[in-house]
């Protein structure tokens, strides 16, 4: 048993991979709770895809790809923030147009480079090939995201469930939304290095959604989501090592399996509660539906 655990750790690239998986899961899983509860899953997915042209352009001009992704991610987050503020076109339609257009631009640019295969790791991630310099950036962002979420906790929390009260007390809902989108852009750029453009949103949404099935408190939910994210990273990497499969896909599949287990657990707990407890006298306003 111990042999199974320690064998992959003999390789430096695997040790780095495990570290990146844990760091990325910290950033993704904490912000993921807000993304899930503010119904921003589509925005998260769109943001991950709109980063692609930035990555390709950075590759073409020989610039740092992480820097290119960051510039594209920040520009996209501000553009999405502006689109969602303007109500003349429905929010999901506008995001869908920008998301598809930017992703198509990325694919178009990739196909023009003539080295489509070289750039495939942008789409599916390359967690086992992270250079030391990038690891430092990932660590800094993974540390900064929870700290900033902690600092802006009450503002993010209030604007998530009662934007009217926020506006009444002078707290601009749009300002808080931009803060969240910028933090999301940073998170997505780190996650892309691990699982790629296509699967990044799963790393943000799935652990948070799984945690939301087991607790109704925000901070324990973030902690549980981080544990699920880190577990997915570690178990997924072991699975990728032993089954010789793509690491990004293995990590996301583990996330999905954890979500499925949580869904079954929640279903069992709910059934037990309903079976054991007498019906409430006044049930108006109760809402036990899962997300």
């Amino acid at each position: 048993m111990l042999e199974i655990i320690f064998e992959p750790l003999r390789f430096g690239f695997m040790r780095t991979g495990f570290l990146v998986a844990i760091l990325v899961s910290i950033a993704c899983s904490t912000i993921g709770v807000y993304v899930v509860y503010r119904r921003m899953a589509f925005i998260g997915d769109a943001l991950a895809h709109t980063v692609l042209p930035g990555l390709v352009v950075a590759y073409l001009i020989g610039m740092s790809m992480f820097g290119g992704a960051l510039v594209a991610g920040l520009a996209s987050s501000l553009a999405i923030g502006r689109i969602t503020q303007n109500k003349s076109v429905s929010e999901d339609t506008a995001i869908g147009i920008v998301f598809a257009g930017m992703f198509a631009l990325g694919i178009f640019l990739m196909s023009r480079t003539g080295s489509f295969r070289e750039l495939a790791h942008m789409l599916f991630g390359n967690i086992l090939g992270i250079p030391q310099s990038l690891l430092v950036w990932i660590a800094m962002i993974a540390f900064a995201i929870p700290v900033l979420l902690f600092l802006f906790h009450k503002e993010l929390e209030l604007t998530s469930y009662d934007p009217s009260h926020a506006e009444v007390i002078g707290l601009r809902v749009d300002t808080v939304r931009y803060i969240l989108l910028v933090l999301l852009a940073f998170t997505i750029v780190t996650a892309i290095s691990a699982v790629g453009v296509v699967l990044t949103s799963a790393l943000i949404i799935t652990p948070a959604a799984a945690a939301s099935l087991l607790t109704r408190r925000l901070v324990p939910m973030m902690a549980l989501s981080t544990v699920f994210g880190a577990l997915s990273g570690v178990i997924g990497l072991y699975a990728s090592y032993y089954f010789n499969a793509a690491s990004g896909a293995a990590i996301v599949l583990t996330c999905t399996a954890i979500f499925a287990i949580c869904a079954v657990l929640e279903w069992a707990m709910r059934n037990r509660v309903y079976r054991d407890a007498p019906p409430p006298a006044d049930s108006a306003g109760t809402d036990l539906k899962p997300l």
Partner: protein
């Protein structure tokens, strides 16, 4: 150090000014063909309990939202204690209709009530023991102590309204705007509201409650405004002391 959400937070109230005053207020929603409010002028004296009555769609909620700064009027003026909207965020508390809140969000009742303190804390600063003391007192006044640790979606409709009123108490607001506060709530919640609102009026707080229940005419409000299709139809000043038994 407090970093206020709005830089205009600490302006002093104008002495002797009405708690709420609107003049010739006009407001139109984007894309709408006609105004939702058409030249509405009302004046609510400080320390009074006023009712805003009218059928559904008459503009009551729109007027409430304009007064508390959620919607912007394109014509006319609004003054709260003599100051323009936004000049005194901490003075105004708004109880929205229950449908406007995401009750599934994972916050407890205590945390929701704590949101009443946020305007005093400003950006980043976290609540201290003094804030928790105020929150616990507000929960006690609304008989919500036992429910303080419950997720807000697990409350009944009446309990949710009580939690929102507790938040307004925690804010220590001088003007309370209540949008259909008692729609679909039980008798015990009505009694709690009646007691707390009477106590607030005794402390010279001002209450403006919107309701489509026209029987409030007998309920002992100090002032009654009737809105229909965005226009003020009637403004009625009632005389003497009343028991506000419709709260």
């Amino acid at each position: 150090m407090v970093i206020p959400y709005s830089l205009r937070r600490d302006r002093a109230a104008v002495a002797g000014a009405p708690a709420i005053e609107t003049r010739h207020l006009r407001l139109r929603y984007p894309g709408a063909e006609q105004d939702a409010l058409r030249g509405v002028s009302i004046s609510v004296p400080q320390g009074s309990c006023a009712a805003l009555i009218g059928s559904n769609g008459s503009g009551k909620s729109t007027l409430m939202k304009a007064v508390c700064g959620i919607l912007r009027a394109h014509q006319g003026t609004i003054r709260i204690a003599g100051l323009p909207v936004g000049g005194c965020h901490h003075r105004v508390a708004y109880l929205p209709q229950r449908g406007e809140i995401n009750w599934r969000f994972p916050v407890t009742v205590r945390r929701l009530v704590m949101a009443g303190r946020f305007v005093h804390l400003g950006w980043i600063r976290r609540p201290g023991p003094h804030d928790y003391e105020i929150v616990d007192r507000a929960l006690d006044q609304l008989k919500m102590c036992e429910l303080a640790g419950r997720q807000i979606g697990m409350l009944s409709g009446g309990q949710q309204q009580r939690a929102l009123l507790a938040r307004a108490l925690a804010q220590d607001a001088e003007v309370l705007l209540l949008d259909e506060p008692l729609t679909g709530v039980d008798q015990s919640t009505r009694h709690v509201f009646e007691r707390v609102i009477n106590e607030l009026i005794r402390r010279r707080r001002t209450v403006l409650a919107a309701t489509h229940d026209t029987s409030v005419r007998e309920a002992g409000y100090d002032v009654i405004f009737q809105l229909e299709e965005g226009e003020l139809q009637e403004s009625e000043l009632q005389e003497g002391e009343h028991a506000r038994d419709h709260f």
